[in-house]
Amino acid sequence: MSDNFGFSNRRNLAEKIGAIAPGAKDDAAVAVDRIDDVGERHGFVSREPDAPFRRDKSVGPTVTLHTRVPVRVATPFQRFCEANRYSYWEGIEELMKRAGLIG
């Protein structure tokens, strides 16, 4: 509806929206770490926990060995693993390397 005072010349919301187009803007000039420094000065610090450290356990395909071992063999083997902080399979691997059976 028109009026005599020019108020109806004001663009409506849809017309104003039509003037805005999607588009990129190059504001990557300032490195994020500089923004982080500013944030930290104002108490805007990281609230995300660090990802927990996980050991790389990828050792390839595995099989399970069940064996009854004489105590005279088991006891020094367990002491060897304990002293070197080996798991049992790592202890076996180390002894086989020393025997030249694996590289």
């Binding site: 039509g18 805005i20 999607p22 588009g23 803007k25 504001d27 994020v32 944030g39 104002h42 108490g43």
Partner: protein
Amino acid sequence: MPVVAFANPKGGAGKSTAALILAQTFARAGAGVTIVDADPNRPILDWRSGASGSSIRVIGDATESSIVRLVTEERARQQFVFVDLEGSASRLVSRAISRADLVVIPLQASAVDARQASRAVALVQEEEETLGRRINFRILLTRTSPLIATKLEREIVAVLQAAALPQFGVHLNERQAFKAVFARRLALDELDAGHVSGIAEAMANAEKLADELIDVLAPAQEAV
């Protein structure tokens, strides 16, 4: 293209409500709008899971490391990108503000909200210096009575004016319909007038605010 971040380190200030109501209003007027929901409670993502036919696109997996990329990608795709930020002082908030064309700082008329809002203002002002460009910001009073301003509300408005802090002339009023959009997961114009009162008044309030917002954005767009 404009990126509008809604920030106040105080929770419950009205960030999500303002972001969603404004996005709905722009979408209803034909705009392409994305909301990046960076609030850990995911209120906008929860709203999107409902039956609303609104065209608003919602992205909910924003993190410190992804926020800048998400905003950059969406601004190239959509007419408007709104970032609903978490109610805490975090690095994610700081990074999002650095990519914003406008920071809307909602606050209820309470001393706690106002003090936390002042932290957001200080951050915006120093980021401006670091970036060497203007980051427009506006304070938005939320949950105000449409009928009468409380004494505290008048005091806070006077303090903002005395400090020359820019604020929206339009407030986001306390309206049952604004709460109902979250509860029913619908847009304002999809609510059932038989169950929710004041829908027309809420839509009128939202449209006035949207109109003021786009006028605030216009000079920044022309400068790009």
